[in-house]
């Protein structure tokens, strides 16, 4: 396997893009990544997307994007792994370059969610769950996470307000990210007053519905010198799975796929959690941040809330998470989020994160999770 580097990045602002289609968003991100790298050549394009068929009535998406971006006749395929689709596209691009099958490969994550009303989007998101035994019983995605959160609060005897620091941290960082959707800081009082979505989950526990696209251009590290920008090495890429049905796990509060993919990634990069300078967590709901930090070895079982309470997840802390706002603050265009996370880690490792810069960052981790922890894709990036 060849060593692989990210040589170009691009991203649209995350927003409700009423005037822009899924192809417009993808083309903008792809164009920005190619200009950033200053490299013309593209051998293949992998489009990470979860719901283009459900929400935009559009499949054959990668071909559409390749055409619209002027890249025909390159190889192009859509990669789907629920909310981890963006991470999955990055992994597909990594595998293509590492194997030697292709040299210059684009991974673009894109989602256009705002064309439907909430009940349609809720039904579409539920397709990440088990259609026969979860979604078919009217259990939306947010309810599955609410079941986890209530059980966590019960087993560890914690109160809902103790989850507030995760949302506060993501909003605090998003406030300084010009591409983020929710650029306002929030307080513990705001969190306490936030309306319930699915008890105990409230609106400020939850990432919002939005549109966006992010893209990365990958190349063999040996070729990366040709790029305009300093390359960032992909030191690890790992994908693991667990049952789709949340109820079918021995212990739903142990996110085994997340733990397995982090363990594989640490082994590939020959590092441990202590060596991670920043961690882009899949904070679709605050309970997801908690279970992910515990599964990835940053906190013991039942103790991730303590990390947050002590300020260790803030950008001044020893394990900064969601450093450009995370899914909660930047926004969670589902199939694009994994690509945004990787773009944001690249910004940090290049030293281009402005007021959000983690000083001296050399190693960053991005983790994209699909379903209720049923597929986890972890990348470790280094300079």
């Amino acid at each position: 396997m060849r060593e692989v580097s990210i040589i170009g990045i691009g991203q649209t602002a995350v927003a409700e893009h009423w005037d822009r289609s899924i192809r417009d968003l993808a083309v903008e991100a792809v164009g920005e990544a190619r200009r950033d790298a200053g490299v013309e050549r593209v051998d293949a394009l992998y489009a990470g997307n979860m719901l283009s068929g459900e929400l935009a009535g559009q499949e054959n998406l990668a071909t559409l994007i390749a055409d619209a971006a002027g890249l025909l006749p390159v190889e192009a395929m859509k990669i789907e792994a629920a909310c981890a689709s963006g991470g999955a596209a990055l992994r597909a691009a990594y595998l293509a370059v590492a194997s030697g099958a292709h040299d210059y490969v684009l991974a673009v994550g894109v989602e256009k969610m705002t064309d439907l009303l909430t009940d349609g989007v809720t039904a579409a998101l539920a397709t990440a769950a088990d259609a026969d035994y979860e979604a078919g019983h009217g259990i939306p995605f947010v309810a599955l996470n609410a079941l986890l959160m209530r059980r966590y609060m019960h087993e560890h005897k914690v109160r809902h307000e103790e989850f507030a620091p995760f949302s506060i941290n993501s909003h605090r960082n998003a406030a300084q990210n010009p591409r983020a959707m929710y650029r306002q800081e929030i307080s513990a009082e705001d969190f306490a007053r936030s309306p319930l979505v699915s008890d105990p989950i409230n609106i400020l526990d939850s990432a919002g519905i939005c549109d966006g696209a992010a893209a990365l251009l990958l190349a063999p590290s040996s070729e990366a010198r040709r790029a305009r920008r300093p390359p960032v090495r992909l030191a690890a890429s790992a994908c693991t799975t667990d049952t789709v049905g949340l109820a079918e796990r021995r212990d739903p509060l142990v996110w085994q796929a997340v733990a397995d993919s982090a363990r594989l990634a640490y082994a590939q990069a020959k590092i441990g959690p202590k060596d991670i300078d920043l961690f882009e967590v899949h904070d679709a709901f605050s309970i997801v941040s908690v279970l992910s930090l515990e599964a990835c070895g940053f906190a013991d079982r039942g103790s991730a809330l303590k990390l947050a309470a002590e300020g260790r997840i803030a950008r001044e802390g020893d394990i900064p998470i969601c450093t450009l706002g995370g899914l909660k603050g930047r926004g969670h265009p589902v199939g694009a989020s994994g690509a945004y996370q990787a773009v944001e880690v690249v910004l940090q490792l290049r030293g281009e994160a402005g007021g959000l810069q983690i000083k001296g960052a050399r190693t960053g981790m991005a983790q994209s999770v699909g379903g209720s922890g049923s597929v986890a894709i972890t990348h470790i990036l280094q300079v």
């Binding site: 009940d119 349609g120 078919g136 259990i139 309810a143 986890l148 059980r151 019960h154 699915s198 739903p252």
Partner: protein
């Protein structure tokens, strides 16, 4: 599109039928072709009693498309007395404070809005165990 799905699922939806592994004795819901514990394929249908305790619960106030007629409703995960967890709607909960570990039992109810051609979709839901709620004599 939905009609064949619900017809296909009649054994699980109406009878709470899962699988028992002849090799390791594990019992699973929903049914499986390969045992997730011992990875053998020696699985036979197994009907669960429908009794269990509440593992967790929440309320759905913004239902997905297809469930507006039954909303708002409670959903939960139930620990069946035979061991597996199952996700389902809860019913007959009005005026009852739900608590983790409370005993519940399976009943058959309308699951969702009528499917195409007015087909009524029935399936399992769980309700607080009535026996436990009666005042003692």
């Amino acid at each position: 599109m939905e009609l064949p799905r619900y017809h296909r699922m009649r054994r699980t939806l109406y009878r709470l039928e899962g699988s028992a592994c002849g090799a390791c004795g594990g019992r699973f819901f929903p049914p499986r072709a390969v045992c997730p514990a011992c990875k053998k394929g020696d699985l036979a249908p197994h009907r669960f009693s429908g009794r269990g305790t509440l593992y967790s619960y929440t309320r759905v106030t913004q239902p997905p498309r297809g469930f507006a007629s039954v909303a708002p409703y409670d959903v939960g995960m139930v620990r069946l007395e035979e061991g597996p967890l199952i996700s389902a709607q809860l019913t007959d909960t009005e005026g009852i404070e739900l608590t983790i570990d409370m005993p519940v039992e399976m009943v058959t109810r309308t699951l969702r809005d009528s499917a195409e051609h007015g087909f009524i979709v029935y399936g399992y839901k769980f309700r607080p165990l009535l026996r436990e709620l009666r005042p003692r004599p």
